[in-house]
Symmetry: C2
Subunit: 491 residues, 2 copies
């Protein structure tokens, strides 16, 4: 209580209202970090006695803090500081988690987070990046803060061209477009290519963030069902003929949310179909770097001899999401549209961060970091596979992925993962309910678990707990007995 | 030539083609900064002799470099390096300059640039920013690189709320949305509010970057003519009734391109009209901080008691464009739409830069910097006013602004500023031709001069030269004699 004794209120009648003075003093404590997330504010009576003010004064000041979401009330328990200002990880607005209620779940402390596909911040190469940032500032001075070219900082594009050379993606520097993360890549592609009423094709299920962009452009979305080795080709071809879509958006390696990887054969066939119908493909390569067991882990773009694939590469998963950096490889055919869309969207991506990334790539610590991330993610992957095999009820169907961070499950028919979520979140385990990944939320029995934000211990404990809860859930819903022997394909 | 003697080519037949080896070696020199912008490559015969290879090998390697725009040929003079990789200011892709040919003018060295409204990089507080970046990284570690909340880093929003308190804009932290620059602000507002076919109103003339966004959404744009004290109110009201627009986009202080500031009376009347018709207003406040002589320099938002104004504030002009940071104050009514649009656009703005800005604001060096920028810009402003009064031909009409960086001129009737531009660019003086700021490029006699990227000496010399050229241009076009006495209002 020492802290609160320091509060000095000016009780002169000409001064500001007492409750505003008190509100400001408390807010100051939170802003300066003297009060941290989870700290309890003094009981109202106690603080009013200490400061010799009316109860109402304290109540009003607490209410103002509450309105600003700086504190929250727990009934019967008191008023608590809502979060730590500088370490605000309680809010996870990652692209996948954010799907749950449009990005505003606030997780309770010690929640096991299988929902987030965002890597935990302890894996980031902060020191290396600090070093390159300082080098860039010393080297480039003010230029680092000027407007950068819309297409992106030239040396970075050069470095990226060389980087993807290693993955057999051969392109010209002029076809590389720097973006502020993969989400922006999808956004500017849509802006450049889609007009109101156009058709666009996606995998079913797919990434919600992409659907939201296409919807926002007034496009009509068609989904093509996924099979274990990729899209259903008959359905794809039929729908291309029927709808003449502007492009097909897909994730051929470790697809989100299903984790599946396309077979090499299917990748090639899709490119043949694309050529036959002059169909553009948008390939979202969000984590092909995290390959563990897929011996056909190559990008569509590296097979794209007809220059029909727009390739999106993000650094969010393997480097750091907060960088907000990625790049596109854009076919000559649509290059102008995409560049213009980038310009109208935000003129350019931060030059400072682009310059830092360029230096980081040049220094080669990059390879080292990828290996490190690979090891970390692989440990989690293995723990996940073991735990699933050991604990997951046999009524729950799944196909194990060959890499990446996403695992996809199907509850017995009739059971809703949304309802399961309601139950597990109370026990501090969260995941991504499957309806979020389907057009019109039409399927409810699937769910996705991600290993990106959980460590090995959390995985072992979490999968065991979750499996127990699924068992309880199935019994409660009275479904497990009728469903166990019925086979429905997971994909 | 010493540098080129170092090139080692592997002439074994099993090796890579010689011209590719040579291309790679030369590219290496450019990337590493050993060859700089403007450096001439050796004549073809000379290099081929030195390396004992065929002329064709050298020609082919030069051609590859040329295709990547790393070098350019000057007929009869040789092949030159196209630019300095780390100090790439030759390309100016600022939002205004970029209007000329969609963002791709490459200025010759020593060009006097009245076209760019982007501050010269020597004005940036690089050292202060370096300090806060390092403090943030030491303090927050990996958290600085995690996904940030879509709405923006909470402490930054808190700091901005307090900052605009000083400008009498009273708002809740929850109504502040962090954006990656003003252009993104316009983009997400459009995405959140505009549907295909909606009407939207702008000032005529206005900022091209905003028109491009509205067009991209499939909106229909209506322009309202500007008068010396702001929009023509009769026309505004008439068109609101006729078109029922979704919102009005405007810049009430130091408007771009005209430099005019609305009278306080007109600001109030516009808010009354907005209330009467439930019209939303988007106020783009891009440089009200650079006020020199306007005693009614207040924002519309500070007068907005009905919460109808979406306020856009950019830090590009007064701090550093490369930061790509700004914020919105969003009325309660449309808050959800705008937040969602931000999320689909790029998930969030770089957390590292947000954290650095927060610390920078807290340290208060900010006020100092604003004063410094104010002094710098005012010197340029005064030099501009003096030079215009001294040199500008009397046939050219203008109204002097009371602050900011933009000056707006009108050539005698029938004369096109596009043609004038063709003439001046050859003499290394550029400006922004007026058609760029009008819907359908319908007016051609206006032009805009900006003081953002030119120093006092350049202004004095440049305005004198430009004035001379305008005199020549008018004589050549045979218009000056018939036009001098005819008055047409500049706005």
């Amino acid at each position: 209580m020492k802290l609160f004794e320091k509060i000095k209120l000016d009780k002169d009648v000409s001064s500001q209202h007492l409750y505003i003075q008190l509100y400001k003093a408390l807010k100051g404590f939170i802003v300066e970090g003297k009060l941290k997330k989870g700290d309890r504010l003094p009981p109202i009576r106690k603080l009013s006695e200490m400061l010799e003010v009316n109860n109402v004064t304290v109540v009003s000041s607490y209410r103002m803090l509450e309105e600003e979401k700086l504190v929250y009330k727990k009934i019967g328990s008191g008023t608590y500081v809502a979060f730590d200002l500088h370490n605000n990880e309680g809010f996870d607005h990652g692209p996948k988690t954010s799907l749950i209620e449009q990005g505003h779940i606030q997780l309770e402390k010690n929640t096991i987070n299988f929902a987030s596909a965002t890597p935990s911040t302890d894996l980031f190469p902060v020191d290396d990046f600090k070093e390159v940032l300082n080098e860039v500032l010393d080297r480039d001075k003010g230029s680092a803060f000027g407007y950068q070219e819309s297409q992106g900082y030239y040396p970075l594009r050069l470095a990226l061209k060389e980087y993807i050379d290693n993955y057999n993606i051969i392109t010209d520097i002029n076809n590389i477009q720097i973006i502020s993360g993969a989400q922006q890549g999808i956004d500017i592609i849509a802006k450049g290519l889609l007009n109101y009423g156009d058709y666009v094709m996606i995998e079913g299920p797919s990434y919600r963030g992409a659907m939201a962009v296409f919807e926002s452009r007034g496009a009509k979305i068609i989904d093509i069902p996924l099979e274990k080795d990729g899209l259903n080709l008959q359905d794809l071809e039929k729908k291309i003929i029927a709808y003449q879509p502007k492009f097909l958006y897909m994730m051929p390696n470790f697809q989100n949310p299903t984790g599946i990887s396309y077979s090499l054969e299917k990748k090639k066939k899709i490119l043949e179909i694309a050529e036959k119908y002059h169909l553009l493909i948008v390939e979202d390569d969000y984590l092909s770097d995290l390959n563990f067991y897929n011996n056909e882990n190559i990008t569509l773009k590296s097979l794209d001899h007809k220059d029909l694939v727009i390739y999106i590469k993000s650094f969010s998963k393997i480097l750091m999401p907060g960088l907000r950096l990625g790049f596109l490889v854009v076919p000559r055919l649509v290059y102008g549209e995409v560049l213009l869309a980038k310009h109208t969207t935000d003129i350019s991506t931060s030059g400072l961060l682009q310059r830092a990334l360029e230096l980081y790539l040049k220094k080669g610590t990059w390879q080292q970091h990828i290996r490190y991330m690979g090891t970390q993610y692989m440990e989690r992957f293995e723990a996940m596979v073991r735990s699933i095999k050991e604990y997951m009820p046999q009524e729950v169907e799944y196909t194990l992925p060959k890499g990446g961070v996403n695992f996809w499950f199907k509850l017995p028919k009739g059971l809703s993962s949304k309802e399961l979520y309601e139950m597990t979140v109370k026990q501090k385990i969260v995941f991504a309910p499957g309806h979020l990944f389907f057009l019109n939320n039409k399927e409810t029995s699937y769910f996705r678990l991600s290993t990106a934000a959980v460590n090995v211990d959390e995985i072992k404990y979490g999968i065991k707990e979750l499996s127990d809860m699924i068992n309880v859930f199935m019994r409660k819903e009275n479904h497990h007995s009728t469903q166990t022997n019925e086979y429905t394909p997971i994909l």
